[in-house]
């Protein structure tokens, strides 16, 4: 059971929800940039949420399935094709052995995720399957995928295995009648270019004009943005009342740093563990996925929320995904018994 990589795409890596417990040793968290999409893809195929997925950036890979597999793609990066036919993202699909998956680039959006029932059989390095390229660890040989790589798959769980076996006999692509793509919060989806953020730990030391500009000016994602950080450009210079130096200390996912040149950096999945620049803002955790889907050249504005509100959004999202998970398990159970009856 494996997937053969015919073409690696622009930048395709294996990621889970990150490497935790080693930050104090200077080991980056890594993990999927758009964790909501990664979780949704896993949940759709009845995997553990933290199972490894493929993170594909702007130009997708070409993959051939060497065995029948249940898959789900999520995210906004590209349009998937199975043996030349376009498929919408978000639907669980069962693809027969020999099917080729390819992608067509889109005008907007950045990253698409592929989950396979059973996950990817790569070693856990420091409790995670996430690829961390600079240290050359995790994922598939610690690097991005290349032509000729053979990705071994794990065994699908008991919930979906019978469904896969039943449908395998038809030898054609099967698509579910339900889908998971998109954020759970519908109102949020309408405001993809508005990023909610709480004042950072040095917000009060910004000059009055900068405090005002932070929530007014449009920020554009610069070309130098990557998995480590999103570099932003704007008309405004974000500056402090007085210059001050900081001792390095821990930073978090979504910390917005304000270096002396006045142009902001949002720290993303591959951020360093500690940083010494002042922190102007902190992106609400539920909105990190929106940033991860912005490509260089796209722009957005920040809107202020309180810490309490960010916390409420976090809890609401976690509750909603738990409900979604239970709902999907029921769907698979139902599906299994239907196919069971049909074949009887």
């Amino acid at each position: 059971m494996s997937i053969l990589v015919e073409e690696g795409g622009l930048f395709t890596t294996i990621q889970d929800l990150g490497r935790r417990g080693y930050l104090h040793q200077g080991v980056l968290e890594s993990g999927a940039m758009d964790r909501q999409s990664a979780r949704n893809a896993n949940v759709a195929v009845a995997n553990d949420e933290n199972e490894a997925v493929l993170e594909m950036t702007l130009i997708g890979p070409v993959l051939t399935f060497q065995s029948t597999a249940l898959i789900c793609m999520t995210g906004d990066g590209m349009t998937p094709f199975l043996d030349g036919d376009p498929y919408p993202v978000g639907y669980p699909l069962i693809v027969p052995k020999g099917t080729t998956l390819s992608f067509k680039a889109k005008k907007e959006g950045m990253r698409t995720y592929l989950a396979v029932a059973g996950g990817f059989n790569v070693p856990n390095v420091m409790d995670s399957k996430s690829t961390y390229i600079r240290a050359g660890i995790g994922g598939y040989k610690g690097r991005n995928l290349k032509k000729g790589d053979d990705l071994e798959l794990g065994n699908p769980n008991k919930l979906v295995q019978p469904v896969i076996e039943k449908i395998e006999k038809d030898n054609q692509v099967w698509r579910s009648d339900w889908h998971v793509n998109g954020p759970i919060d519908e109102a949020n989806e309408l405001n993809r270019n508005v990023i909610r953020a709480i004042p950072g730990t040095h917000f009060e030391r910004l000059n009055e004009e900068s405090k005002h500009q932070l929530f007014k000016t449009r920020f554009t994602v610069k070309n130098q943005s990557d998995r480590m950080g999103y570099r932003l450009q704007s008309q405004a210079r974000i500056e402090f009342n007085d210059s001050f130096s900081l001792l390095s200390e821990a930073v978090a996912l979504g910390t917005v740093q304000a270096p002396p040149d006045g142009q902001l950096i949002i720290l993303m999945a591959d951020r360093q563990t500690t940083g010494g620049y002042p922190r102007a803002l902190q992106v609400a955790s539920v909105d990190i996925c929106k940033i991860a889907q912005l490509r260089p050249g796209q722009s957005f504005t920040f809107t202020e929320v309180s810490l309490k509100e960010a916390e409420r959004l976090y809890v609401e999202y976690e509750r909603a995904i738990t409900i979604r998970k239970h709902g999907i398990r029921l769907k698979w159970k139902q599906c299994g018994s239907e196919y069971g009856e049909r074949s009887r």
Partner: protein
């Protein structure tokens, strides 16, 4: 006198506690005690902590923190405030390890050694002698996997960073930046003045504890010859 600790939310999943405002072994010891306290008796939802020079950032899962009322962050800060009030009283203060790091100070490994000497009006031998006679405290590991921020270097060899960082520094390089000294565990860009190289592997994902050094450890540097360097390097493989 001990300073009043400060608590602030870094994000909705992390709180930073600062136990002082200046770098000192006393503040570092308190940071280390708080870290031990949390690791030995984690509160529900506790994930991990990252020590800095003057404090600790505590990461937690908001879904697992038990709150009576109000916000999760308020609850975590209350827990931490309570923990901080207990540190300093523990009798079994955990001492860090003492690690000796062999360094070859030959010019091919320490391309900036001559500059460090000239800028400080010293001979190369004097720089090596001063660097190897210090006992350094590991304040924190950060920036890159296993990268130690060491305190306690003699001001006589303090040298500013390069204005333009090098694009690639070999793993094991020993450097100076201002009055800090440290070792690059993996090849990375960097701006420190390079004075030598160690054959030791400071970071390896295959080890049970991947980072050779931890905050709270003490480090001394020992001069070795190029032949010893090559021999040890082979032994590490």
């Amino acid at each position: 006198m001990e300073e009043t600790p400060s608590f602030y939310s870094l994000s909705e999943t992390s709180v930073t506690v600062n136990l002082g405002s200046t770098v000192s072994p006393a503040v570092q010891a308190r940071v280390q005690q708080l870290l031990m306290n949390l690791n030995h008796e984690p509160f529900p939802g506790y994930q991990e902590s990252v020590p800095s020079y003057i404090g600790l950032t505590v990461f937690y899962d908001p879904m697992k923190v038990t709150t009576k009322a109000g916000s999760v962050a308020t609850e975590v800060k209350a827990i931490l405030r309570e923990r901080v009030s207990h540190i300093g009283n523990e009798s079994n203060r955990q001492k860090g390890n003492h690690v000796t790091i062999p360094v070859c100070y030959d010019l091919e490994f320490g391309p900036d050694l001559s500059d460090v000497a000239t800028k400080n009006g010293l001979s190369r031998e004097e720089v090596i002698q001063i660097h190897t006679s210090g006992k350094y405290l590991v304040y924190m590991i950060g920036f890159a996997p296993g990268f130690p921020f060491l305190g306690g270097m003699d001001e006589r060899i303090a040298t500013p960073r390069h204005a333009q960082p090098r694009t690639e520094i070999p793993a094991g390089s020993v450097g100076i930046a201002g009055s800090q000294t440290g070792v690059y565990p993996i090849a990375t860009p960097g701006g420190w003045q390079l004075i030598g190289q160690t054959p030791l592997t400071l970071f390896s994902a295959n080890r049970e504890v991947p980072s050779l050094l931890s905050a709270g450890d003490h480090v001394t540097f020992k001069q070795i010859t190029k032949e010893e360097f090559i021999q040890m390097k082979e032994g590490e493989r």
